[in-house]
């Protein structure tokens, strides 16, 4: 990873490097997510490109020191545009034996390991099944190991505060952050300011954390153990003003922005569920921007209230994860029948059932596509990265409002909690989403009646006539309606027509053509994915191309309807590879719809693909070695 070496002011070697992957791992109570977040903010402020992968257990506090309680945060930062949080860490920080045991296999030989030795007690070692202390036997020989008594050192640093030993030790994560900040030449001011704000109401805690942070920094500076420090220059991203953003935050901002661009009040009806709850938390802060949030008694009430708000002329939104979608399905069907705008945010997680609440998966595609009774088509859009959630939300709302339909947005745990730099958009460039409500009777027979299901000739959308509009009083519901007039109809031909009209409306939604990235222009293999696998697939393509082979990449943002040129794209390659974090849901759709021999590559491990493994799959595909 290193390219250039110099000698720094402290007389130590300073290596210039293009990219680094650091993984902080510890107990759930050790504050690893906060530590990782903080380092990320510093990397962002420094101008590196970055991508992060938080990985934590569903239990809030699993028993301390156990393997199920291990929480980690991986950060990849670089001086060029990167696509993933990295396959394997270059540096692993392990705060206890459990964290070491759970993560050491991912550290490549020669990688740097920083261990908090204080936790390596007999009892803690036994808890995770270490028969001998790995710090004392030869098992860590393949790594560059730094043994640091972080808890002891932190305690020492905090002695003047008079804090209890136990309280003082809790700041050891800041010690670790300080040490890493020193090692990578990161500033200290940002973190200290952050800690002062975070603990504004408890200044003594702020000071304690700052002391621990400085102690970690000084430890690096003063001890001889670390011979080398590293610099990663700012990345040359496209011109603009950037901030760091997670997928859930971008999703919430997208919803706020969509309400503003549509000039509609936003109503979020929802029920807390991992990993989507942060969307509720964030939106509930923005009441001043025209957002009302409603934490309902259950998932069904959440979407019901959102649909009621849509009926009343608001932008109705519901946020959930897979199990919640299952509960909302009947209401989504009602929204299809009512033909009202509604945004359904599904932050996918591992399934089936409760599955893996904090882990990622892409296995709700077919649920979104088909998981309702009857023919009930719903548009589906999937963001490809954390920052992309913002644009995807705006596009989803465009479809919902233009075509008067519920729309699925499929995010997932990886992009929901992962973060990356986001080029902050100029609000003036955001799309105008303004829509119109019906105000006049529209019956074509001149009767002066209002026909709620008389469709727009272009979009096939029906008029949105909200209560309070005189002369347009009408009744809608889940029973089949007469085409145009909208009264209850059991007529067989009418039903057939309405089923086809609803389908045609969704199929007719305007979506951009698929673009293909084939820099060599002679690729015979196309790799096509959707959603959060964009990064790993893209990184894999870079590796394959760097090895002198050609591969084309396309990524589906619109899964229903699919881009109009998709069939032509698929048919113009000899082989099509479809990597997915499910058992082949997109590849099944592609095979069914386009009769192409799509090769499915799947993994459902609760973690994103690694670039390395996908590069292997693509290399095999290029060489024609794919299993049948």
């Amino acid at each position: 990873m290193s390219t250039d070496t110099a000698v720094g002011p402290s007389g130590r070697e300073v290596r210039q490097t293009h990219r680094v992957v650091i993984r902080f791992a510890g107990d759930s109570g050790d504050g690893m997510q906060l530590t990782g977040d903080r380092f990320t903010s510093e990397a962002a402020a420094f101008g590196n490109d970055l991508a992060t992968l938080p990985n934590f257990p569903a239990e809030i506090r699993a028993p301390a020191g156990t393997l199920p309680g291990v929480s980690s945060f991986q950060l990849h930062f670089a001086d060029y545009d990167i696509l993933t949080p990295g396959d394997r860490p270059d540096v692993l920080v392990a705060m206890n034996p459990a964290a070491l045991k759970a993560n050491i296999a991912d550290l490549p030989h020669g990688g740097m390991l920083i261990v908090n030795t204080d936790e390596f007690t007999k009892r803690n070692l036994a808890k995770v099944g270490y028969e001998s202390n790995p710090l004392e036997d030869d098992s860590l020989e393949p790594y560059t190991t730094h043994q640091v008594a972080m808890a002891t050192l932190t305690r020492g640093a905090l002695e003047p505060t008079g804090m209890s030993k136990k309280d003082a030790e809790r700041a050891k994560n800041m010690f670790a952050l300080g040490l890493l900040s020193w090692m990578y030449h990161r500033g200290t001011e940002g973190t200290e300011q952050f800690l002062r704000e975070k603990f504004a109401k408890k200044p003594e805690l702020a000071e304690a954390n700052i002391l621990a942070f400085r102690a970690g920094w000084n430890y690096g500076e003063t001890t001889e153990s670390f011979a080398v420090t590293y610099e990663v220059a700012p990345a040359r991203l496209a011109e603009g003003t950037y901030r760091q953003i997670t997928g859930n935050l971008a999703l919430a901002y997208g919803v706020v922005a969509a309400g503003q661009q549509a000039k509609l009040p936003v109503f979020l009806g929802t029920y807390p569920i991992t990993p989507a709850s942060d969307v509720l938390h964030e939106l509930s802060k923005h009441k001043g921007m025209g957002v009302t949030t409603f934490q309902a008694e259950d998932e069904i009430a959440g979407i019901g209230a959102a649909l009621g708000a849509s009926f009343g002329g608001s932008l109705g939104v519901t946020s959930t994860s897979g199990p919640g979608v299952a509960l909302k399905s009947e209401t989504i069907g009602l929204a299809v029948a009512l033909e009202l705008p509604l945004l359904i945010l599904d932050v996918q997680r591992g399934g089936p059932s409760t599955g893996l609440p904090t882990k990622t998966e892409q296995a709700d595609l077919l649920q979104a596509m088909y998981g309702r009774n009857g023919e009930a088509p719903v548009p589906i859009i999937a963001p490809q990265s954390p920052a992309d959630c913002f644009d995807a939300a705006l596009d989803a709302v465009r479809m919902a409002l233009t075509y008067r339909t519920p729309v699925f947005l499929l995010s997932d745990g990886a992009i929901a909690n992962g973060s990356e730099p986001w080029a902050i958009p100029d609000v003036a460039t955001l799309p105008d989403l303004s829509t119109t409500f019906a105000t006049e009777p529209n019956a074509p027979d001149g009767s002066g009646e209002f026909w709620p299901y008389l469709r727009d000739a272009d979009t096939l959308a029906r008029p949105w006539a909200i209560p309070g509009t005189a002369g347009l009083e009408h009744r809608i519901g889940g029973l089949e309606k007469a085409d145009g007039r909208g009264t209850i109809s059991y007529d067989p031909d009418n039903h057939d027509r309405m089923v086809r009209l609803r389908q045609a409306k969704i199929e007719g939604i305007e979506v951009p053509d698929l673009t293909v990235d084939d820099p060599d222009g002679d690729a015979e293999v196309l790799v096509i994915g959707w959603g959060s696998s964009f990064g790993p697939i893209g990184a894999a393509c870079r590796r394959v191309r760097a090895a002198g082979m050609s591969v084309a990449q396309a990524h589906l943002r619109h899964l229903n309807p699919m881009p109009g040129n998709l069939g032509d794209v698929l048919r113009s390659y000899r082989r099509v590879v479809v990597p997915e974090m499910n058992l082949g849901q997109l590849s099944m759709l592609l095979r069914a719809k386009f009769l192409v021999d799509a090769h499915s590559y799947t993994k459902v491990a609760g973690l994103p693909f690694q670039a390395e493994e996908l590069a292997g799959v693509l290399t095999d595909a290029v060489k024609g070695d794919l299993p049948a």
Binding site: G240, T241, F294, I476
Partner: protein, 365 residues
Amino acid sequence: MTATDLGQPSFGGGLDLVPTTDETQKAKDYTSDQEVRWCPGCGDYAVLASVRGFLPELGLKRENIVFVSGIGCSSRFPYYLDTYGMHSIHGRAPTIATGLAVTRPDLSVWVVTGDGDALSIGGNHLIHALRRNMNITILLFNNRIYGLTKGQYSPTSEVGKVTKSTPMGSVDAPFNPVSLALGAEATFVGRALDSDRKGLTEVLRQAAAHRGASLVEIFQDCPIFNDGSFDVLRKGDDVAERLIKLVDGEPIRFGNEDEWGVVRSATGGLEVARVADVGEDAVVVHRAGEEDPTQSFALSRLSDQDLTHTVTGIFRKVDRPTYDDGARAQVAAATEQAEQRGDNLQALLSGKDTWAVLPEPENEQ
């Protein structure tokens, strides 16, 4: 987690924010062009007639009234009223009404539901709408049977009921809807008999005027699957001894000669006694506005549900802040603060921690 004082609530009428009209309205103005398709003799006809006859009295703009229903015979109700309406899905009408009530204070929102819709599949939504005190009026048509699915027992059917799904008699204990509503923190609970147009209209009038969730249980006959289930309250010599009509502030007396009264029982509840035996002073006075719901609860269970003594009228009517008023007040306060601070979307998106990437040439060092 800390609690915060939300400020002093202001109470008003249920329809205070709904625009009114000077035009005289008639029942036929509320009659849609849809043919009513309930079975002949169904109690729903009587309720529909009462509602059509009552709505003009409110003097509201017709377009500002919305009826939302679930699934079941009674849930066809919105189709027959020329207002805005939604016939939604089974049990979920309170959720849709919730979203509507929170976002549109200018609407009079009504929920039409049945014993199966409200108490079986939709039980959760009912109790939460009541506890939140959403500003909606819920008409619960209770015929103690599933009609639309052709005659299975319902959550209000009596134990031992023989139906298609319980040929040996139902072993299922029923809900008492008024007791349930009171237990769910309802601020307005009333009950009426479908055929008692005067009594029903009075309960509807007060329910509509109440700011907050109003639950009105309407005993209603299903002539096909549960025929005559409430006949003992309609005809016969002892109707007056069975039917107790509550009048707020009045002693609870009934019978042809008002010879019966409701008195405190030895166990702390309520029971029925001859006034001549216990004396007039022993008869309890009905107080719908009493904060403590204990007496109203006891009234709802005077003779279990066997109709020996059936209480109608308004059990409870108290003021409590509504969810929708509270939610809107927070949005209004936040909006005012945001305007004062000059918040805007660009500032939100930009956040606090940003960095600039300059054009390429300037980046070269």
